[in-house]
Amino acid sequence: MSTLRARELIINIPGRADGFALNMNVEPGQIWGVLGPNGAGKTTLLHTLAGLLPARSGQVVLNDSPLKEFKRRDIARQLGLVFQERQDTFPATVMETALIGRHPWLSPWESEQGEDQALAEQALTALDVDGLSGRLLNTLSGGERQRVAIATLMTQNPDIWLLDEPTNHLDLHHQVKVMNLLRNQAESGKAVFMCLHDLNMAARWCSHVLLLYTNGDACWGATESMLVPEALERLYNQRLISLEKDGLSVFVPAQ
């Protein structure tokens, strides 16, 4: 079980004032949703939390030590990331792609064993792409590729899951399936932290929400306290209609 902490963290968005420093703990069992308009720095925040980008100031703390003090391999055993954009210059099959998630767990001379194979198969099955395992990645649809990327993270099996818009390109059924999968992972002790564009998904599945404003302001807390229409309208600069149905809030943009 690992905890990821932001301490006085200011992410480095070129040309933007410092804004509001982040102080938050992403604990096991929690599901965080980051909401904000395009360009607010959601992806930059995710990359900074993963130690892939330097912060402007403050630090990211993994358990009790600053992230900077870890080796990349040790970070990768505890923290994994699904990117919004992926590079596939070279052809690779779905199975090869999922197995790459085992990389931080294997020593240089080791190759993937039956156990790694089983983990990858399990992950591909959980995301309904097990039937595609022999297919080349570049022959898949966008939604299928997205699910393979999530299966790769599942195969990596870190304690902390960072995901950049995990429901991108997914059909409704698989959006729900992925969100339920993330909830199951959180219930088994993982910490989940993801960027989202869908307010209703955040309302339904996230335990915590971080609102990231274009000017660098930020606020965070438990979901029900954060998802108030006024704050969201200011966030997106867009009028909203909010409805109640069976105790669930539903947000729809007004014209």
Partner: protein, 309 residues
């Protein structure tokens, strides 16, 4: 395949040795002429060709992963240009073969450092920046080579042109290339899975626990050393480094743990065959082997490119 090609290389030449006789020579018998031909002329040459082909193919495979560009070859960063300028300078000064080789190696390493330093200058080190720097520096070397050829007295030209086209007969001894090949394969194999991850992009690789920067440096320097050794052994032989990894990827997929050793075998075999052809087509005259690999390589590459659309 590789063994068969070696046998063929030993048997073929201005004097053809029938296979039964070759077998006798390998067992230590056979006529004195055949023994000399095989042990002192053809075997060292075949080993040199094999090692050079293997070096080039592995260097090409590494460069393609490093630059995330399947069209990269070992010379793409201008290394052969530096080596050629070094070698031609030595020839111009009338130095012996050993000094020509040494000078070529120095030129290759100088070219490597130059591109590395320039591309690395301000700290950012993206494949596209490295590629652009390399290509521009390479065309600079090209201009220097043309200039040197233009001012060279004509009796020295054939030797220089042969060197530029690549020719295994320059190989005095095959062992340095062979040793470098074996040692570097042993160094690179534990990194092969890291390279698989690196092929997915530097960010993804870092997220999966690869120390991207040190790995890229190591790959760049190793690939340069391999290429420099190959160029020193046999001049700049084109297309082996581009074609061989490319073909292997089409057949075997992109797992570097398979591609790298397969590159050694396939690159080596291809060059042994090409060199055997070069020696025999218009025997007793010899063609530079670079001509054969290019003649084979150009149509093969165009075909692959066409098919991949």
């Amino acid at each position: 395949m590789a063994l068969a090609a070696m046998m063929l290389a030993l048997a073929m030449g201005s004097v053809t040795i029938p296979l039964p006789d070759l077998w006798q020579v390998i067992q230590g018998d056979g006529s004195a002429l055949h023994r000399t031909l095989v042990w002192e002329l053809r075997l060292p040459r075949a080993i040199a060709a094999f090692a050079t082909g293997g070096l080039l193919a592995v260097a090409g495979a590494l460069m393609q992963v490093l630059l995330r560009n399947p069209l990269a070859d070992p010379y793409i960063l201008g290394l052969s240009g530096g080596a050629a300028v070094g070698a031609l300078l030595a020839m111009l000064a009338g130095m012996g073969a050993l000094l020509v080789s040494g000078s070529a190696f120095a030129g290759a390493m100088l070219a490597t450092m130059l591109v590395f330093g320039l591309a690395h200058g301000t700290g950012s080190w993206t494949p596209s920046r490295l590629l652009l720097t390399g290509v521009v520096v390479a065309s600079g070397w090209g201009a220097v080579i043309t200039l040197m050829l233009a001012i060279t007295p004509s009796y020295k030209l054939p030797g220089m042109l042969y060197w530029l086209m690549g020719d295994v007969s320059y190989a005095r001894t095959p062992w340095p290339a062979f040793v470098v090949l074996v040692v570097s394969i042993m160094l690179i194999m534990p990194l092969a899975r890291n390279l698989n991850v690196l092929a997915r992009g530097p960010m993804q690789a870092a997220a999966l626990g690869v120390s991207v920067r040190p790995l890229e440096w190591a790959v760049y320097l190793l690939a340069s050393l391999l290429t420099a050794t190959a160029v020193t052994t046999a001049g700049s032989i084109g297309f082996v480094g581009l074609i061989v990894p490319h073909m292997l990827r089409l057949v075997l997929g992109n797992d570097q743990r398979i591609i790298l050793p397969a590159s050694v075998l396939a690159g080596g075999t291809l060059l042994v065959l090409a060199d055997t052809l070069a020696r025999t087509v218009i025997a007793p005259e010899q063609l530079p082997v670079g001509v054969i690999t290019a003649l084979l390589g150009v149509p093969m590459f165009l075909y692959l490119l066409h098919r991949s659309r």
